[in-house]
């Protein structure tokens, strides 16, 4: 329990706004404090519908909390996407690669920062509307978001 809590803290600490750089990360962030505050439940209750679409065409619909990252959604709903979120949201793995529809991609409040783009450059099947799921924070107006999970299987030699 405590371990999970600590884990989710560290996962949340590395949004782009805090430029992560090796050992000198700051471990204080707004998102860290937010869940502990008493005024939070009202905001927490807000949900949006998101749909994950897998490479084999399977769809999975879920209600997600506003303020959660797509990585949080995958973890909290036990979506069991193989290998997803290996670095727990610290921008060092790109296993959380997602592809969005152009209209959704353009609506996102923040553009990918350099560090996110650096990781995306390693991803298989990179597209113009690719993002890292751990960097996308759900807002109220993202209701109905469709998220494609590209295939991770690829031959490293070709």
């Amino acid at each position: 329990m405590l371990r999970n809590f600590v884990k989710s803290l560290s996962a949340r600490n590395l949004r782009c706004s805090i430029k992560n750089n090796g050992v000198s990360q700051s471990f204080i962030s707004r998102r860290f404090i937010a869940p502990l505050s008493t005024t939070e439940p009202a905001l927490k209750a807000e949900k949006v519908k998101v749909t994950f679409i897998f490479h084999d065409g399977k769809r999975m619909e879920t209600q997600a909390n506003v303020g959660d990252s797509l990585l949080d959604v995958v973890v909290n709903n036990e979506l069991n996407i193989e290998g997803y979120g290996a670095c727990e949201g610290t921008l060092t793995c790109s296993t959380c690669h997602v592809v969005l529809k152009p209209e959704d991609y353009n609506k996102l409040p923040d553009e990918a920062c350099d560090e996110e783009r650096d990781m995306l450059d390693l991803a298989y099947g990179l597209t113009d509307t690719s993002r890292l799921g751990c960097q996308i924070i759900l807002t109220k107006d993202m209701d109905g978001l469709e998220i494609q999970i590209p295939e991770t299987i690829n031959d490293a030699r070709v």
């Binding site: 992560n20 050992v23 000198s24």
Partner: protein, 463 residues
């Protein structure tokens, strides 16, 4: 009752009928393959055999100590290991304690994921000189790999050269150039920390055979190096000439990487040198020709051949150059070893077709290879993951075609191993080691203090 049926009735009492899978090597490839197999097969038994008493392969012994985030993947692997159908058996070496033929007799499928642990050599004069060091051994030394803990390295000199321009070369450069106070907070080994705190290294060259458009390191690692505290990057004036002209036509990853190099090259370096500044110096188009030594066989420099680009190809010229340095690292890649006599190695990896290791004895279990052993030592964990999933998928498909699943698995292997080795370490044993290391780390303000001796690991695991 037919013989086959009889055998089944008989054996179901002693063995259960779950497919028995053996994975050799507890690195990312092994764990990712297990992750896929337990997801696809409800009823399966997977035994992961590992040479060391401890799991995780290069996540523990390769990934740099100042990259703890990368190691978070250990949490996913731990979940896999804690699944009832997965067993970890550490301190078992393929080719020593057990051979491939035996594994094939007692399992339904064998997956080899034992990595690529040997480093490639240059094959040039004086490569055995004092202070010419394999980057991989240096990495093993600072990360606590038992066989590298006594590495002899002299850091009392001013200049070091790294031959090679991949991510491991950058790891080595960064560890040499990072302020010691930053390393103190990591799980770097105590012996490395104490040696590095006395280091007099002032400048580190990163020498590449080819040009800036061919570097093998990735952008994240370069960006980190360029941002390093108290470190200035000096590019050679001519090396990046004309590169800007081709940038627009490059594919995105290469384009962004090249743009970052150009940006750094064009930046006015304002850091004034108060004596604490260190220098990072990439050099392109240079191939080492021989190591220069003094009469005590101590390294004094490297003779380099200057190369030039002809079209896409890099060709040597008549021109030579001397790089004075008293420490050199070889970081030009790895190869897998032939752990078992039945394996055929090609170009440093096990010969295989999309993961299937071909051979004639089809009456034995199929053999597969994944990760660096199967693909060659290229790519990051993400690529290893993709390959492991792919090979595991194939294993799953082929397992469905075996109808006679009566193999004894580890029950039988144990009998073979016990003859030579009574110290098999299970997951519980690893957890004891893990806790011990974390406790020891706490004392000195580090996430963990690794145990660097196999005997000590066994002692703690067996307590």
């Amino acid at each position: 009752m037919s013989y086959k049926l009889l055998r089944r009735v008989f054996s179901s009492s002693s063995y259960n009928k779950r497919p028995q899978i053996c994975i050799v090597g507890a690195g990312p490839a092994g764990f990712y393959a297990a992750m896929h197999l337990i997801k696809k097969l409800e009823n399966v038994n997977i035994d992961i055999l590992e040479k060391l008493p401890v799991p995780f392969g290069l996540i523990r012994y390769g990934v740099a100590p100042d990259h703890p985030e990368v190691k978070n993947v250990i949490n996913q692997f731990t979940k896999v290991a804690q699944t009832p159908s997965v067993n970890f058996y550490g301190n078992i070496t393929l080719g020593k304690d057990v051979n491939l033929q035996q594994l094939r007799e007692h399992y339904d499928a064998v997956l080899l994921t034992y990595g690529a642990e040997e480093d490639k050599t240059l094959g040039i004069e004086n490569e055995d000189a004092t202070n010419v060091i394999a980057a991989r051994n240096f990495v093993g030394w600072y990360n606590g790999l038992p066989c590298d803990k006594d590495l002899k390295i002299d850091l009392s000199c001013k200049t070091a050269a790294i031959l090679g321009q991949g991510n491991v070369a950058l790891d080595v450069a960064r560890i040499l150039l990072t302020p010691i106070d930053d390393l103190k907070k990591t799980d770097i080994t105590e012996h490395a920390l104490s040696a590095l705190s006395e280091s007099k290294i002032k400048e580190v060259y990163l020498v590449g055979r080819r040009g800036p458009l061919q570097v093998a390191f990735t952008i994240k690692e370069l960006r980190e190096q360029l941002k390093l505290k108290n470190c200035r990057t000096i590019w050679k004036e001519n090396d990046l000439a004309d590169v800007d002209k081709v940038v627009p036509d490059l594919p995105r990853p290469r384009k962004r990487l090249t743009e970052l190099m150009l940006k750094s090259f064009n930046e006015k370096q304002t850091m004034s040198d108060d004596g604490n500044i260190k220098y990072f110096k990439p050099v392109f188009f240079r191939s080492p020709n021989k190591f220069l030594i003094d009469d005590k066989k101590q390294l004094t420099g490297i003779e380099l051949i200057c190369n030039k680009l002809v079209g896409e190809k890099c060709v040597p010229t008549e021109e030579k150059e001397i790089l004075n340095c008293e420490l050199a690292f070889r970081s030009i890649g790895y190869k897998s070893v032939q752990a078992d006599k039945d394996l055929i190695l090609n170009d440093g990896y096990v010969r295989n077709d999309k993961g299937i290791v071909e051979d004639a004895s089809s009456n034995l279990a199929k053999v597969y290879a994944a990760g660096w052993l199967g693909t060659g030592p290229v790519g990051v964990i993400l690529h290893t993951m993709g390959n492991a999933f792919q090979v595991a998928k194939l294993m799953h498909e082929n397992l469905n075609n075996i109808d006679d699943k009566n193999k004894g698995g580890f029950e039988e292997i144990k009998k073979i191993i016990n003859k030579s080795n009574s110290n098999v370490i299970d997951w519980n044993g690893w957890e004891k080691i893990d806790n011990y290391e974390k406790e020891q780390g706490k004392i000195v303000g580090k996430p963990r203090e690794k145990i660097c001796s196999v005997e000590k690991m066994i002692e703690i695991a067996k307590k």
